[in-house]
Symmetry: C2
C-alpha cells in the first residue's frame, strides 16, 4: 500500500491513497483524517485503506485524480518522534575523520542515534529556508521507517514487526555547527534544521524483495544541481531497522508514528558516490589530499530518488528541493 499527505493548510494535512504506479491518488477522509490518524488506528483502518488501494490500482476508485508529489507535504508533516541513527558505519567512520572527533565507543556494536525535531517537517519539493551559507549547508539521503506502538525493552526481532511504513528522507545538516554540538555531548540541535521526506510512505510489502533483513535494498540516486552525486545502496546498513528501534526503546516505549532513520546511506565502494557532501569532502581529503567540493549555496537544488536494481523508479517518489535564504 502507498500513502501520501496532501498539503491542505492543516497541521497534519489530509490522507491520500496512491496507486502502485504513483500515477493516481484518492483522498480517503471517511477512513482517516490524516496519516497520523491512520497510524494511531492502524489495525482498524488498514483493511479499508487496502480496499481503496486495490480499487485504485484496478482503475475503479471513485474520486481518483492525478497524483502530484509537489502538492504533498511529508507523509507525516509532524510526528511524535524523529530518531535518526547512523547505521552505515562506513559513513560514520569517514565523518570521524572529517570532523576530527574522537572514535565513538562501541561504534560497531551499539547503534548511535540522535533525537531530532519532529514538529515541522518539509515536503518533498519545499524550499529549504536557512540563515547562512557559512553554516555549511548539506543534504543527507536516508531511508527510514514509521513504527506502530513499541513497548519498552522490545527485542530487535519483535521491533521489526512494529514497522508500519517505509519512507525516504533528506536529513538537512549544517556542517559548520555539527562539531561543536558533538563536543558538548548534548548532540545535534542547530546543526539539524527541518528534515524533508519524499511524498510516498509505503508498507514494507510494497518493496517486495527490496525489503529484506530489515533493510531497504534499493539504491538512493542523488543529484546536486542536476549532476550525479552518488547512488549508494541501502542494503549495506550495518544495523537493521529492528536493531535501531530496539535501541530507541531500551528505556521507554515509543508511540505510534515514531520515525526512525538509517543515517546517511553510504557504501564502502568509492564508485557508489555519496549521499551527502561532507562524505565526499572527506573522501577527497583521504584520496586526493584536500577537500575540493564546497557546501551548498542559496539557489542550489538537490534531487533524491530510490531505484530498484533493474533501474525502475523506487516507490517513494522524488525529493527535489532548493535552498533559499531564510
Amino acid at each position: 500500500m502507498k500513502l501520501a499527505t496532501l498539503a491542505d493548510g492543516r497541521l497534519d494535512g489530509s490522507l491520500l491513497v496512491v496507486s502502485q504506479d504513483l500515477q493516481r491518488a484518492v483522498p480517503v477522509p471517511a477512513i482517516a483524517a490524516s496519516l497520523h490518524d491512520a497510524v494511531q488506528r492502524w489495525d482498524e483502518v488498514q483493511p479499508s485503506l487496502a480496499e481503496v488501494y486495490d480499487a485504485l490500482n484496478a482503475g475503479r476508485a471513485a474520486g481518483a485524480r492525478v497524483f502530484d508529489g509537489a502538492a504533498c507535504t511529508a507523509p507525516l508533516p509532524r510526528a511524535p518522534q524523529w530518531l535518526d541513527g547512523s547505521a552505515f558505519l562506513n559513513h560514520g567512520r569517514l565523518m570521524e575523520q572529517a570532523f576530527n572527533t574522537p572514535p565513538i565507543p562501541d561504534f560497531d556494536t551499539v547503534p548511535v542515534m540522535y533525537q531530532g525535531a519532529s514538529d515541522d517537517f518539509l515536503g518533498p519539493q519545499a524550499d529549504v529556508p536557512l540563515p547562512s551559507e557559512a553554516d555549511g549547508i548539506d543534504f543527507e539521503g536516508e531511508f527510514g521507517v514509521v513504527t506502530g506502538p513499541v513497548p519498552m525493552g522490545v527485542s530487535p526481532e519483535a521491533a521489526l514487526r512494529c514497522v508500519r511504513l517505509v519512507v525516504q528522507i533528506n536529513d538537512w545538516s549544517l556542517r559548520a555547527l555539527g562539531p561543536h554540538e558533538m563536543k558538548t555531548g548534548f548532540g545535534f540541535l542547530q546543526a539539524k534544521p527541518s528534515t524533508a521526506f519524499a511524498p510516498v510512505a509505503v508498507t514494507p510489502d510494497e518493496l517486495g524483495e527490496a525489503w529484506r533483513d530489515g533493510r531497504v535494498q534499493l539504491k538512493l540516486h542523488v543529484q546536486w544541481n542536476g549532476e550525479r552525486f552518488g547512488e549508494p545502496h541501502g542494503g549495506e546498513m550495518n544495523f537493521h531497522f529492528g536493531q535501531l528501534i530496539a535501541h530507541a526503546a531500551r528505556t521507554r516505549r515509543l508511540t505510534a508514528g515514531t520515525i526512525i532513520g538509517s543515517g546517511t546511506v553510504s557504501n564502502v565502494a568509492r564508485g557508489a558516490g555519496s549521499a551527502c557532501i561532507a562524505e565526499r569532502r572527506v573522501i577527497e581529503k583521504i584520496d586526493q589530499g584536500e577537500m575540493r567540493t564546497g557546501f551548498m549555496k542559496f539557489g542550489d537544488r538537490v534531487r533524491m530518488q530510490a531505484r530498484f536494481a533493474d533501474g525502475r523508479d523506487g516507490p517513494f517518489g522524488v525529493i527535489d528541493q532548493r535552498v533559499v535564504r531564510g
Copy 2:
C-alpha cells in the same frame, strides 16, 4: 492564569482552568479542546480563558469542582518539541567532574541543549516505569517555559516575549547511560526516559516578582523518600529563557507548544542542596573524597514543589512520583 490538563484517556487530555489558590478548577471544552489546542490559538482563546479564570477566583464559575493534581496529566501530555538546556553552569561544571568528560567548549557563552522525546510525558503523580536499577535512576528538578510560535533567528529579547506559560519539570535521567551517549556526540537518548511535569502551567504574570530577568525566581524544594534533598533557587540560572529559546531557534522556527527546560536547578552555595542525585554525589566526592549516596531503587519516591521566598506554595502544584519496575 493557571491551566491544567485532566486525564480523560485522550492523547491530549482536556483543558482545565485552575483557581489562583489551586483549590478549584473548571473544564472549558467550549473554549479549547486541550491545552495544546489553546496554545495553537492563544491570541484567540486567551481572553475567554482569562474571563473564566476571573469568574473562578470570584467563586462564580459554573461547573467548578475541587482541583485534584493527581487526576492530571502533564499540562501538555505531548508537545511538538521538548528541548532541555543546561543553564545552571554550576550544575554543568559539577557534572563534568562526575562524568569525567572533557570541558564543553564555550560553556560560559553558548548554551548547551539537548532535544528530548516529547511524545509521552508523565503526569505529576504517575508511576515511573524503568527497566533496571542498574541504570542509575535519578530525578532532575527544573523549571521550563512553553512558547508560542518562534521565528528562526529570533533575538533573546524577542524570544522572551514568545513565552506563553511557565512549568515545573522532573527530567528523569539514567546516569549509567549518560556518559556513553555523551561520548558518541549524538546526545542523550536512552539516558532520558519520559519527562514528568507538575500539574499546573501558569502565565508569567502569575509569578509576579518571581518572573524576573527571564528566570523563575523561586526555590525548588526537593524531597527523596520524605527527606529533604535541596531547595536550590531558580534565579541563579546563567542563561535566561530568552537566550535558551533563541539558541533553539537559530536555524529553524519553533512551533507553538514547544517546551524549553532550564536544566537542573543548581546553586553554588552548598547549603542549598541539590535537585538531582548525581550532583549530590559529585559534591560528596569533592568535599568528602567519595560518593556516598546511591541512585534510586524501585519503590522510591521523589517530591518536588516550588515555593515563594516567604514560604508560600508555588503556583505549579506538586510532583510526587514513585519509581517502579517497567
